[in-house]
């Protein structure tokens, strides 16, 4: 994170592997920790807020590392690291890593093993679109204000960044649709579906991203406004994820 800020100020001149290396090392450690937790619990570690948050972060880190292998995207890690750091810090908030009951009545179907991870992968993709968005804004600003660093920087052309935002949004939306679909299809009958805060929230998020994509693809929403929308949308997801989760009855069934 500190190194990222440093690179940011330096203006991304040189092709830089150190940031990539640091992020990759952190990612490996993260994967190990998550795998350990997963094997001890015998399922994918996504069942409380701490685990869910770190899973989203893991997805973002994986995605940005993969994209960083492409030319001119090496610095994506610089933009993801601050996000990972801040949200990661928040995930350590005491109480988020609560113990949970294993046999929640509503979630007996095997399909639910996919419900949560798929949705969280989707959020990870949205997170990537937000980082690509911040990269876009940085570079766009440099170009607009005729700063020479727009050219010195090893950053991709803004039009390509716009495409990356769109691709990650499409992937995220597809995953979210699949995940929510699984949840809706296999939930036990007696759950009060539409009154639940989290289902409403998920629907809201889905509509928001769907609207964003339609505005881009259909109504030619481009440039700064589009990049900002991707960032704001993900900010909304991150900031409201915890609250709605705790309010939801289906996702926090009363202990029998």
């Amino acid at each position: 994170m500190l190194y990222s800020t440093f690179l940011w100020r330096r203006g991304f001149h040189r092709d830089n592997w150190i940031n990539f290396g640091l992020l990759a090392a952190a990612f490996v450690l993260h994967t190990l920790a998550m795998a350990k937790r997963g094997f001890t619990l015998h399922h994918c570690p996504v069942n409380n807020l701490y685990e869910a948050t770190t899973f989203v972060l893991w997805t973002i880190a994986a995605g940005s590392l993969a994209l960083a292998l492409l030319p001119k995207l090496r610095f994506l890690g610089v933009f993801t690291a601050p996000l990972l750091f801040c949200v990661g810090l928040f995930a350590l908030w005491p109480g988020l890593d609560a113990e949970y009951i294993d046999n929640i009545p509503n979630f007996s179907s095997d399909w639910f093993k996919l419900h949560v991870p798929v949705i969280l992968l989707g959020y990870g993709a949205f997170g990537l679109s937000a980082t690509a968005g911040s990269m876009f804004l940085t570079q766009e600003r440099n170009l607009k204000f005729h700063r020479a660093r727009a050219l010195f920087a090893i950053l991709p052309p803004i039009q390509r960044l716009e495409k990356i935002i769109t691709y990650t949004l499409v992937i995220g939306l597809a995953l979210l649709t699949a995940g929510v679909g699984i949840g809706a299809a296999f939930v036990e009958e007696d759950a009060t579906f539409w009154g639940d805060s989290k289902t409403i929230w998920s629907f809201l998020v889905w509509t928001m991203y769907c609207g964003l994509l339609v505005s881009h693809l259909k109504f030619d929403q481009r440039g700064r406004r589009y990049a900002w929308s991707a960032i704001v949308a993900f900010g909304f997801v991150i900031l409201t994820f915890w609250g709605t989760n705790l309010l939801s009855d289906i996702h926090n069934p009363p202990t029998p």
């Binding site: 005729h146 727009a150 481009r222």
Partner: protein, 354 residues
């Protein structure tokens, strides 16, 4: 085992002087033979370009008057009467090696960090090698010089960036558009710089180029050269919808494109990014256009300032280059000292053979 360089360059003399000392390729072969026949040096390489004429020479034993002998040779060969104003310079070891390394990296060049000199240096070395005028010392030294050039290229930014207006324009286009292939370029006013910029865009992939000029004949001629299409001077607005990059350099005394006009044009065009490069003085494009969303306006000063900053960036890399060069120079001299026996080969064989 001294390596010496004698000659003159754009730093020391004007072109009127340099041209008198210049060697043609056939003269180089002849001169290389003479240097050795007269016993001035055992090994030699002659570099003759438009910006410099230099003889790199090496002898087996140290020779304090080698520099003077080489200077005298340059005068004799070209039939010029020696004069102090000629400003020939001579560098002895280790400065001579430093000098060669700097030349190979382009940091002694007129355009700091240019790469053409490396090719010329390689050519000069090949020629001397083919004439069997080089042996262990200069072979090793020149190989090292080529390695240093490669190292400096990869480790520093001395060669990075565009330092001409037209190449800055191309770089701008490349940092806005994903690929230049599908972008349409419109050149308004067929001036020299706009032609260069259009050519550069084309060499980087731009396929569709429209040319609009007050004199239609000139537009047609330039369009033909660029593989583009000429359009009427007053009708370019009709083509505007498809255009992504405009290079404007007309002599019009007022703005060709005002903010209001562009705003209404943009409404039909959608929100694709638009790069407007205005190299005309007085300006063709209202600077307020830059405030419109997805529109990027650069005028001649913006481009020149970026090119200037690139040059500054290159200058800032000079110290790093010099450090790299000093390290490699020491490496080379150590290794030459460690194997002095090898340096006696080569030339002797040539002399015996001939």
């Amino acid at each position: 085992m001294p390596i010496v360089v004698t000659g003159l360059s754009h730093h020391s003399s004007p072109v009127e002087m340099r041209e008198r000392f210049a060697f043609s390729n056939t003269q180089v072969a002849d001169a290389l033979g003479q240097v050795r026949q007269r016993g001035i040096a055992d090994e030699a390489v002659i570099l003759s370009t438009c910006n410099r004429v230099e003889i790199y020479a090496a002898t087996r034993e140290s020779n304090p008057v080698l520099g003077q002998a080489l200077e005298q040779f340059l005068y004799d060969f070209h039939g010029i009467a020696p004069a102090p104003a000629h400003a020939l310079y001579t560098h002895l070891e280790p400065q001579s090696v430093d000098h060669l390394f700097r030349v190979s990296c382009g940091i002694d060049s007129m355009v700091l960090g240019e790469t053409e000199i490396l090719g010329q240096l390689k050519q000069a070395y090949r020629l001397a090698h083919a004439e069997k005028a080089t042996a262990a010392q200069l072979n090793k030294t020149f190989q090292k010089a080529f390695n240093v050039a490669k190292l400096v290229r990869s480790e520093t930014q001395i060669q990075r960036g565009s330092i001409s207006v037209s190449s800055v324009a191309v770089e701008l286009a490349e940092s806005i558009f994903d690929s230049l292939k599908s972008q349409q370029v419109l050149v308004i006013g067929a001036g020299d710089t706009s032609e260069k910029a259009a050519r550069a865009l084309r060499s980087r992939g731009a396929q569709s180029i429209l040319v609009s000029n007050r004199s239609h004949d000139k537009a047609t001629a330039l369009a033909a050269e660029l593989g583009g299409r000429a359009i009427g001077f007053d009708t370019w607005v009709e083509e505007f919808q498809g255009v992504d990059i405009i290079i404007s350099s007309t002599t019009a005394p007022h703005y060709m494109l005002t903010r209001d006009k562009l705003e209404s044009l943009l409404r039909q065009r959608g929100h694709r990014p638009l790069l407007l490069v205005d190299i005309a003085v007085p300006r063709d494009i209202d600077p307020d256009c830059n405030q419109l969303e997805n529109v990027y306006v650069y005028n001649i000063d913006d481009l020149q300032s970026i090119a200037g900053q690139y040059i500054e960036q290159r200058k800032a890399e000079l110290d790093l280059c010099k450090r790299l060069i000093a390290g490699k120079r020491n490496e080379l001299l150590d290794s030459l000292q460690a194997h002095p026996a090898q340096t006696n080969l080569g030339l002797r064989e040539k002399q015996v053979g001939s």
